[in-house]
């Protein structure tokens, strides 16, 4: 696929997709929690812009609603909620130290290549931008998981989780031009409830363990040692 052959709006979508992927990487490497929340908000914003672009490109009106939902949920509500919680629990200065940042980033890079190779066969089926978009969104999902695995703090795990969700949403919007409305509303509602429940949990964990370090949550172990 030659980028020269695409329309300008498609080129813009690809550019934005690249930026979204970049935010995923920066989330992966960002040790400061407050900064990570900010990056997450940026990612949400970029996503809603992509959605608007796709809506313009395809002329599908319901995508505007999706874009609005994304903006409200991913760029405003969830970052705001996380911010508030962090302030309330006085975690502004907390850092989630990454032990081997270079290795993690390298692994992230390999993941992207891996996902690209997985999605490669799809290329023959479509001549639009979908193939790289699917590869990108798959890598976003994988990077989100990688973040969940490498981080120790509950807050950063939630951000990783939400970043995964963003990857899914990205695939839904860009590759398939939005899911049926009822599904999309359902997903948005679920994410909303999940965010609230996450908030509730922060307090519970803080109360019970006096820290948001999930490594303390390991009493239900069955290994003998």
């Amino acid at each position: 696929m030659n980028i020269m052959l695409l329309t300008l709006s498609e080129q813009a979508i690809l550019l934005l997709a690249g930026l979204v992927l970049f935010t995923s990487f920066s989330l992966l490497a960002q040790p400061r929690i407050v900064a990570a929340i900010r990056t997450f908000a940026w990612q949400g914003l970029l996503l809603s812009i992509v959605t608007v672009m796709v809506a313009i490109d395809t002329g599908l009106h319901h995508l505007y609603i999706s874009a609005l939902l994304t903006l409200l949920m991913k760029a405003i509500f969830i970052p705001w909620l996380l911010h508030r919680l962090v302030h309330k629990m006085e975690f502004q200065r907390e850092q989630d130290i990454l032990h081997h940042p270079v290795l993690v980033l390298l692994a992230g890079g390999i993941l992207v290549i891996f996902c690209y190779s997985i999605a490669l066969p799809i290329k023959q089926l479509s001549n639009s931008v979908t193939q790289p978009i699917i590869a990108l969104s798959m890598s976003m999902v994988m990077l989100g998981m990688l973040m969940l695995i490498t981080r120790h703090k509950a807050v950063s795990q939630v951000i990783g989780f939400m970043a995964m969700e963003n990857g899914l949403f990205f695939a839904g919007v860009s590759a398939t031009h939005g899911m049926p409305m009822i599904v999309e509303l359902g997903i948005a509602f679920d994410v909303f409830v999940a965010a609230i429940i996450f908030g509730v949990f922060f307090f519970h964990i803080k109360d019970s363990f006096d820290s948001l370090d999930v490594d303390h949550l390991s009493s239900l172990s069955e290994s003998d040692s």
């Binding site: 089926l125 699917i134 398939t176 899911m179 599904v183 997903i187 019970s208 949550l217 239900l220």
Partner: protein, 495 residues
């Protein structure tokens, strides 16, 4: 169709109602009443389906056929009996654990919400809505797992939330890919996630995309089914939450997740039918067989080292889910039939066991296996209920689980004889693992001052009676349904 609306609507209404009001006493009664109404609706639906076979479909949002109607009935019935068990149980718990009214309100509201999500997931025709309802099932139960607010229950709930959330997110990615593939072949794009449409056009779907989608869906819904190595949330969540929750999680939710997997597999099989080699054609089956066998083996081994009674039975659930996944993966008519029967009998038996376990834990005041002793002496009903339930789940004849396991084994011997060896070995190890723990709990000497509790055991005996009955004779209508589904899945029936 009105029956479906009632079936789904009553628990939704109940969840909202119980969330708004929420007095302790009235709450449990309303919960019971609503569950009863739901059950009536489900029985009405069964009646309708036995006359006209399918309901909804095509471009409708709901679709009821032989595969989900019995699961719907199972869910509603177990939902009702568990609600019956939960009212005295939760009163006792509220007293012992000092639960506030707010939490009891949360409990009752979430209970109805959970039943709602499961019924919605089972009855919907839309794979997207199925996903939403499975995610909803996680959300409604996660706060129940941490209901007691002990550090370990919060830990369990957190793990449950994150692992299932991540799993379900992977399933969503799979759903998106499915939609992506379907949108190319289904005329009306808005209908592209409807299962009936997907099934009708499954042969035209792109095999490449469907393969990737299936992997994501398998890992995603497999997490909820409790397949090893994605199972780690399951024992934690089952052991730390209130027991009625464990009963419905084990007996129903796992079934719903497996149901989703079966629906996906049906589409995948058709989509891959045109591939060159048999290996690729049966890819979905092979993956499910592999996961099933690994889950079964690992869970069986875990049974031996349990110290917590609820963890013990949650590993037993993993074992049985592994067996069912294996059965559906094997994909012969007989094994599919066995898998369908196993879903039913396992759901009934496991919920019955968890009800007995709940009372046993209340009698002993702990869930630790070492401290639960002399149940039959203290309260014979509970002790015998637990013992008979365990015998049923271990696959003793003449209970229904024996029948389904026997069918599965014989179909395994036909197709892959060497796989019957690990299955048989695993079943006997599971026998030993369960009875090693259960025997002293039921028969041992009772500790000083152990008192009987206010127990409702009739749900247990009702469930076990049905399981026994299914082991002796499967009703004509039910076997007809199973046969229909078997034909739908494998192309040929067993009857």
């Amino acid at each position: 169709m009105i029956a479906v609306y009632f079936l789904v609507g009553i628990p939704l209404f109940g969840a909202i109602l119980l969330g708004v009001i929420g007095h302790k006493q009235a709450g449990s009664r309303i919960n019971l009443l609503l569950s009863f109404l739901t059950m009536l609706a489900s029985l009405y639906l069964v009646f309708i389906i036995s006359e006209q076979h399918t309901l909804g479909g095509d471009d409708s949002e709901f679709y009821i056929d032989s595969l989900n109607v019995y699961l719907l009935a199972l869910t509603a019935v177990v939902g009702f009996t568990t609600a019956f068990f939960s009212s005295p149980y939760m009163l006792h718990e509220a007293k012992v654990r000092n639960l506030s009214d707010t939490r009891m309100r949360l409990y009752h509201s979430s209970y109805q919400g959970f039943i709602f999500t499961m019924l919605l997931g089972l009855s919907t025709n839309n794979l997207g809505v199925l996903w939403v309802s499975l995610e909803g099932a996680t959300l409604t139960t996660v706060l129940l797992v941490s209901l007691y607010r002990t550090p370990s229950s919060i830990e369990a709930a957190w793990k449950y939330f994150i692992l299932c959330g991540v799993g379900i997110a992977q399933a969503l990615f799979g759903t998106v890919l499915l939609y992506f593939a379907a949108a190319k072949v289904i005329p009306n794009v808005e209908d592209s996630l409807l299962w009936t449409q997907l099934f009708a056009h499954a042969g035209e779907l792109s095999p490449v995309i469907i393969t990737i989608a299936f992997v994501f869906l398998l890992v995603g819904y497999g997490t909820k089914v409790g397949l090893v190595p994605l199972h780690n949330w399951l024992p934690d969540a089952h052991s730390e939450g209130p027991t009625p929750m464990s009963a419905v999680l084990s007996g129903l939710l796992l079934n719903v997740a497996l149901y989703a997997l079966i629906r996906i597999k049906m589409i995948t099989d058709l989509a891959l039918a045109g591939e060159q080699t048999v290996h690729i054609q049966n890819l979905a089956g092979y993956l499910m067989m592999g996961f099933g066998l690994i889950s079964f083996t690992v869970a069986v081994l875990f049974l031996h080292r349990q110290r917590d009674i609820k963890r013990l039975f949650s590993y037993s659930s993993i074992e049985h889910m592994g067996l069912m996944t294996f059965a559906f993966g094997l994909g012969t008519p007989l094994s599919t039939f066995a898998g369908l029967l196993h879903m039913l009998v396992h759901g009934l038996t496991k919920s019955a066991i968890f009800i007995s376990v709940g009372h046993a834990a209340q009698i002993a005041g702990t869930q630790s296996i070492e401290k639960i002793r002399g149940l039959i002496k203290t309260q014979p009903k509970v002790g015998w209920g637990l013992l008979i339930g365990t015998a049923a789940i271990a696959g003793f004849p003449p209970f229904g689980i024996f029948t389904s396991e026997f069918l599965l084994l014989s179909s395994t011997v036909h197709t892959y004889p060497w796989l019957a060896i690990p299955l048989l070995m695993g079943l006997s190890i599971a026998f030993a693992g369960l009875f090693k723990h259960i025997q002293p709990m039921c028969f041992g000497e009772q500790p000083e001052g152990q008192q009987p509790v206010n127990a409702t055991m009739w749900p247990v005996f009702l469930h076990l009676f049905i399981v026994l009955w299914l082991g002796l004779a499967i009703p004509e209508q039910l076997s007809q349904w199973f046969n229909n589904v078997t034909i739908l899945i494998t192309g040929s029936g067993v009857l």
